[in-house]
């Protein structure tokens, strides 16, 4: 974030590594500034009978906090991420299987949910699962004056009046998921969505470049 002289916002330094883990079918480490999430993915694999769906794959998401046991906070985010993934994964191609995504928080320095979403998407890409579109997570903040900030640090998140996180699809920049904290007007919400859609372009370019680099010698 941080306001540039031009009045625009910025995304922090992004880094990612595709396939850092040996055991999972797909894995990715995603870093936004100092926020870092590791995603490991198994699937399509055998599914428990109790969770079996006869017409599509069961998507499970597990978010593991760094310290302590997962609580309600993690469960809530798991659901948000799961619904987003379900919306893009072509689960009907793998009925009666399970796709489980495990996200491990490595460090939280703001925009954690957005980072989780990005890591999950890169993990899905690394696993080579068929998807309708890609998605990315963008976090926006609104400060007391109503100025929009993108990809906040933990400190900026704490000072902000409202924190909004969106999942944006790569097809027509559609909004797949949104969650907000704090108060904002309808106009501000629309402005944040517009800003998130702009930022998503940069993130999708980042996805493209990293995958291109990985397969540059294949």
């Amino acid at each position: 974030m941080g306001s540039e002289p031009g009045g625009g916002c910025a995304l922090r330094r992004f880094s990612c590594e595709l396939g850092p883990l040996g055991r999972p079918d797909g894995s990715a480490a995603f870093l936004q500034g100092d926020t870092s999430v590791l995603a490991g993915l198994y699937g399509p694999a055998e599914v428990k009978v109790s969770k079996e769906l006869y017409d599509k794959a069961t998507v499970e998401v597990l978010l593991k906090p760094k310290v302590g046991l997962p609580g309600v906070f993690e469960k809530n985010r798991e659901q948000l991420i799961r619904k987003t993934c379900e919306a893009v994964i072509l689960g009907a191609l793998h009925p009666r299987t399970s796709i489980s995504i495990v996200l491990q928080v490595i460090s939280d320095a703001g925009a954690l949910l957005a980072c989780c979403l990005n890591a999950a998407c890169m993990g899905l890409m690394d696993a080579g699962l068929p998807m309708k579109s890609l998605f990315c997570g963008v976090t926006c903040t609104l400060d007391a004056t109503g100025a929009i900030g993108l990809d906040p640090t933990a400190k900026q998140e704490k000072e902000a009046r409202a924190v909004l996180t969106f999942a944006i699809s790569s097809v027509e920049r559609q909004v797949l998921m949104s969650t907000t904290k704090g108060t904002c007007s309808v106009e501000e919400l629309q402005q944040c969505i517009a800003a998130a859609q702009r930022a998503s372009g940069t993130i999708f370019q980042f996805y493209r470049d990293s995958v291109r680099r990985k397969y540059s010698k294949a």
Partner: protein, 504 residues
């Protein structure tokens, strides 16, 4: 842990890889026929069930046996040193250890080959245990994340997990490597509780070594907030006010694992996951760089000779010295970078030249005209209807906003909708009691009509009454639900019911 058991075929392949290498090293002409026999048999074993596998096994074993029995102990020892493993290591080789630190204090990732453990230390002020009023509390928690292997289930205390946690506690807490007395703030009132969380991220064998390294590295890296005590008042300082203080660590115990095969004939240092699955016994020795043994544990029910244990402890001494050196260098490096204000954290630990890694510098996003864009969307959208200005008060204690929307339950077809509208047009406005009455009347008339068409004379209505004794409510309910259906289908249904009754 519920690991999928190795098939006989796999097990044989692994053991043979160890054994064949030995034979090939001794006399080269022997292996080719052996090898072809092995490859020829393998598929038949794969297809055969577990029961049939054993008779097939014997010729293979018979062929190998002379090679094994002819070797004298001295020769086995020399061969063992020439023995190579599936991943190309020698039997005493340790995999590469890589340590990287996070941006926070007390956060590290240790990679032992492809086994990866994340460690994080956190602290909290708590009241001490009653019998240890002047000692801080150390808490270890190793978690086998389902990310590490598909067999690990979240939140389940498997046997393996309990064993690993216990061993870790013995290695780090019971060896008194952390000065717990220095963690006391006010005796009997406030002490520091140090919590070490370890997450296994990727399981490729030898979890305990990786976890013990991660735990001690995270503890060495950790800084707790400074406190001052004035009388009974405890002041906690933020990192900005006063520099956080490191823990006082006496020594660094590190575990080294040894896998034994075939009743201790073969010994491998730092077994990988595949080797762990076929090993007969495991010996874990925890030692510090002063060559003091902190913990020793043998599991798997294998009888070890005295000189085997001694040899293992000698190897441990060498490995621990190497690893301690590495840890100190890594810690020193991180300290220097932080001091000079350079970049640190996990982003720096990803090598730039790695083909699977990619980095992007801080990217500005143009958000100048988002306001116009938002305005456009809002103007395009329908203006919000403002009909619910006043809440309606139907009767005391109730409130209603707006008139409610049209019921969109079920997907009614045109004809049904018309029908329903006909039926409902007057009902909707009338009060509850009236509705009930009309409902009843409709019902009666309908059933009477049915009676006319089907010759089942007298007692249809009585029967309904008997079946549904709570007359009024039930009847209205059947009526309203019946209205949703097509009238023809209702008739058919009634007919069926009647036929059924007629058969009684």
């Amino acid at each position: 842990m519920k690991e999928t058991p190795l098939s006989n075929c796999e097990r044989r392949f692994l053991l043979r890889a160890i054994e064949e290498r030995k034979v090939r090293d001794r006399d080269p002409p022997l292996p080719p026929p052996l090898h072809s026999a092995a490859t020829g048999q393998a598929p038949s074993h794969g297809s055969a069930g577990g029961v049939r596998a054993s008779p097939h096994l014997s010729p293979g074993r018979g062929a190998l046996r002379p090679g094994r029995t002819r070797g004298c102990p001295a020769r086995v020892v020399t061969l063992l040193s020439a023995l190579q493993r599936l991943d190309g290591r020698q039997s005493y080789d340790y995999r590469n250890v890589r340590i990287s630190f996070g941006a926070d204090y007390g956060c590290c990732i240790v990679e032992l080959g492809r086994t990866r453990v994340l460690g994080q230390v956190s602290c909290e002020l708590v009241s001490p245990k009653l019998n240890r009023a002047t000692e801080g509390i150390l808490f270890f928690n190793l978690e086998l994340s389902p990310m590490a292997a598909p067999a690990f289930e979240p939140g389940r205390q498997s046997e393996l997990l309990v064993k690993l946690n216990r061993l870790l506690e013995r290695c780090l807490r019971n060896s008194k490597c952390i000065d717990t007395e220095s963690l006391c703030v006010v005796a009997g009132v406030k002490v520091w509780q140090i919590r070490v969380d370890l997450h296994l991220l990727n399981h490729d064998g030898n979890i305990i070594d990786a976890a013990s390294i991660a735990a001690i590295v995270a503890l060495c890296h950790f800084r707790r907030p400074d406190v001052s005590v004035q009388g009974q008042e405890v002041t906690l300082y933020t990192p900005e006010e006063r520099d956080p203080v490191p823990l006082s660590i006496h020594h660094m115990p590190i575990c080294v694992s040894f896998a034994f095969f075939q009743q201790g004939t073969y010994l491998l240092v730092d077994p990988s996951e595949r080797e762990e699955r076929v090993m007969d016994g495991l010996l874990v020795i925890a030692m510090n760089k002063h060559r003091e043994i902190c913990t020793i544990q043998s599991s798997g029910g294998i009888m070890l000779l005295k000189d085997q244990v001694l040899r293992c402890s000698k190897i441990t001494g060498v490995k621990v010295a190497e690893i301690t050196e590495l840890i100190q260098r890594a810690l020193e490096n991180d300290r220097k970078v932080r001091k000079e204000g350079g970049k640190f954290g996990f982003a720096e630990s990803i090598p730039n030249q790695k083909i699977s890694a990619f980095k992007m510098e801080r990217a500005p996003v143009d958000t100048n005209d988002v306001e116009e864009q938002a305005e456009e969307i809002i103007t395009k959208a329908d203006p919000p209807s403002d009909v619910f200005a006043k809440p309606l008060l139907q009767m005391p204690g109730t409130a209603q906003i707006g008139e409610g929307l049209e019921n969109s339950w079920g997907d009614l077809e045109e004809s049904e909708r018309e029908e329903e509208e006909e039926g409902n047009s007057d009902d909707a406005t009338t009060s509850e009691g009236q509705k009930m009455e009309t409902g009843e009347r409709n019902f009666v008339s309908k059933t009477k009509k049915d009676d006319d068409t089907i010759v089942l004379s007298d007692s249809e209505e009585e029967e309904v009454v008997i079946l549904e004794p709570e007359e009024r409510q039930k009847k209205t309910r059947t009526h309203t639900s019946a209205k949703q259906e097509n009238s023809s289908s209702k008739k058919a249904f009634n007919k069926k019911r009647k036929k059924k009754r007629a058969t009684h």
